[in-house]
């Protein structure tokens, strides 16, 4: 199967600043989360993927279409027809009705006028905006605006969707709705989706794979399950009674503790040879009581912090 992204030593410099430093990665089709702190090079990568800027060196392909070239060339227009882009900015055209906005997007992608209009009706119905289609887009709520932006990206039925902060500004129910839509488009309708976001929970909720970049370098790539490995030696321990004595007793027997979390909770790493039974024994010995022992796998959040702070994940 053609990979979604195939980058080979892709770099981009702006004067003396190196925004991307030799990115090499191969990502299969599916739902991909693009993660990175501010200034990591995410936007530069998105611009290269859309054919808006050229890489300074290296090569790349998106669904087997080569990246690069000047931004207003036939090749780049071909590339952009493959992609439906949902920008982070409002990107609505005040004064136009929802149906006109989406149909205009279809025509901008090159669809014939009547087909663009018919398709706009279909997409708005699918995104649950059918009743608001004759309302001016500027009167939409935040959730409706996000869905209208998704509709304009979907109108020409692209193979790839590039979503820039798709849940930005949404309330919890709007966010769930949007994430469900993204999941459904990826899993049921075979769209490859690249979600660029700061919200790790969103990525964890919908993406199969994650690409982490920081400082223009690739810091991690793989499936969410691979990266967020199960840890059989780490536990969250909810403690009742004298917590400080319990902590001292754990330290005394060589059990390591990481990052304090809540007032009544400890995160512990058991050394080889120790089991969770030892925790109960130690607690009983120092007058504390254990109310729960929970698994403490590596979260995407933790992985992201580690990867962006130190190096490769």
């Amino acid at each position: 199967m053609t990979p979604l992204l195939d980058l080979d030593n892709l770099s981009r410099t702006f004067g003396a600043h190196r925004a991307l430093k030799g990115l090499t990665l191969r990502v299969p089709q599916g739902l991909v989360g693009l993660l990175g702190p501010n200034g990591a090079g995410k936007s530069t990568l998105l611009k290269i993927l859309m054919g808006l800027i050229e890489p300074t060196s290296g090569t790349g392909r998106l669904l087997d279409v080569p990246l690069g070239g000047d931004r207003d060339t036939r090749d780049n227009w071909r590339l952009r027809r493959l992609i439906g882009f949902m920008p982070e900015a409002d990107a609505l055209v005040p004064g136009l009705k929802g149906i006109e906005y989406v149909a205009l997007a279809g025509e901008l992608y090159g669809m014939p006028r009547k087909q663009a209009l018919r398709r706009a009706h279909e997409v708005l119905t699918y995104l649950d905006l059918d009743e608001a289609r004759y309302r001016a887009v500027e009167t939409y709520s935040a959730g409706m605006k996000q869905r209208a932006k998704l509709a304009q990206a979907l109108v020409h039925d692209p193979a790839v969707l590039l979503l820039d902060e798709p849940t930005s500004g949404l309330d919890p129910s709007g966010r769930d709705k949007m994430l469900n839509l993204i999941r459904e488009l990826g899993s049921l309708h075979g769209k490859s989706i690249i979600v660029s976001t700061h919200l790790l929970a969103d990525v964890q909720a919908v993406c199969e794979r994650v690409v982490i970049i920081a400082g223009g370098e690739l810091r991690g790539v793989g499936t969410v399950d691979e990266l967020c490995a199960r840890r059989d030696d780490r536990f969250r321990v909810r403690v009742g009674g004298d917590k400080s004595h319990f902590e001292d007793a754990l330290k005394a027997v060589g059990i390591e503790m990481i990052l304090p979390t809540a007032a009544t909770e400890l995160r512990v790493v058991l050394p080889p040879g120790r089991t969770t039974l030892d925790l109960f024994r130690i607690a009983a010995g120092c007058g504390a009581s254990i109310r729960a022992v929970l698994r403490d796998d590596v979260t995407l959040d933790e992985l992201f912090r580690t990867a962006t702070a130190t190096g490769a994940a």
Partner: protein, 312 residues
């Protein structure tokens, strides 16, 4: 049981041939016109433009009718007998005789309405794309930046032509029917070309100027101030310098609307000796000013639109 409308609610794939990017410019032009005609407040101005057209249309008919059928007759105004031909003297300044000046004057008057609408509509058509971040919506599509500018220019150009060139062509058609139509149309064929050229000139200059100023200031009030400065202050300053201070007529070149009018009359092959056009610069001098202005607008647009960040 499955609801028969279920398939309509599901996502459906689409397959079809895609048009080249120039079709996107046409779509943008259509949506610009839609935005212009959707604003109810502009309809008062459109009505005024229509009134000017009807005034020229019926006045031209009246003048010809009086000249040809009732010029020697007299009517009583109060108790004073007045020749019918004298009654329409006040229309002489407008040259309502199917001559090049008829169409030049008509476009001159209609142009004022166009300018007012464009001053108000700049923010709606172009400024909002920058102000409300709509530009990434356009430029993330498979079109070049030149297609975006072309789309906006086409929309504004179509509006300008609807307000000036097309009614002027209707007046030309009417003028022919009022005289010996065959010989009128044959003899005045250059006038027809002149009307089209004048319309094209207004389209190019005003649409470029409007897009450039809208990209620059984006909001309605500053836009109105700039357009007032260009078209009203420019004329006031030119009149003051030439007529009060007796400076060279070349100073009239600062009046852009007058420059366009002079070039328009040149296209229409009008007689510059008539219609009090004596103290004006030559049309070629006006053409230089207008060309420089257009080039400046193009360079500015190129610079500003190249700098737009689609992914921020």
């Amino acid at each position: 049981m499955t609801n028969p409308t279920d398939p309509l609610l599901r996502y459906r794939p689409w397959k079809g041939e895609l048009n080249p990017p120039v079709y996107a410019s046409l779509a943008m032009a259509r949506s610009s016109l839609r935005l212009l005609f959707r604003r109810k407040v502009f309809w008062a101005l459109y009505a005024l433009a229509l009134m000017i057209f009807f005034f020229f249309f019926y006045a031209q008919y009246l003048v010809v009718w009086i000249q040809q059928q009732a010029a020697s007759q007299t009517v009583s105004v109060g108790a004073v007998p007045v020749r019918l031909s004298e009654l329409t003297k006040f229309l002489d300044k407008l040259n309502l005789n199917g001559s090049p000046h008829t169409f030049g004057n008509f476009i001159w008057f209609e142009g004022h309405i166009v300018m007012i609408v464009l001053a108000f509509a700049g923010a709606v058509l172009v400024g909002n794309d920058f102000h409300h971040g709509s530009l990434p919506f356009y430029l993330s599509k498979p079109i070049g930046r030149r297609h975006y500018v072309l789309g906006k220019l086409l929309g504004i150009g179509a509006f300008i032509n609807l307000m000036t060139t097309i009614p002027a062509l209707a007046l030309f058609l009417q003028a022919g029917l009022l005289y010996e139509w065959k010989s009128y149309y044959v003899d005045n064929f250059p006038v027809l070309l002149g009307i089209l050229a004048y319309g094209l000139l207004l389209t190019v200059v005003l649409s470029l100027l409007m897009v450039a100023t809208s990209v620059w200031v984006r909001r309605t009030v500053p836009l109105i101030m700039i357009w007032s400065g260009v078209f009203i202050l420019g004329r006031t300053v030119a009149n003051f310098l030439v007529e009060v201070q007796n400076f060279s007529p070349l100073w009239r070149l600062v009046d852009l609307w007058n420059d366009l009018y002079l070039i328009g009359l040149w296209f229409l092959q009008a007689d510059f000796g008539s219609n009090n056009l004596g103290s004006n610069p030559e049309p070629w001098q006006a053409a230089i000013v207008v060309t420089v202005l257009c080039l400046a607008c193009l360079l500015y647009l190129r610079k500003r639109i190249q700098a737009v960040e689609i992914v921020s």
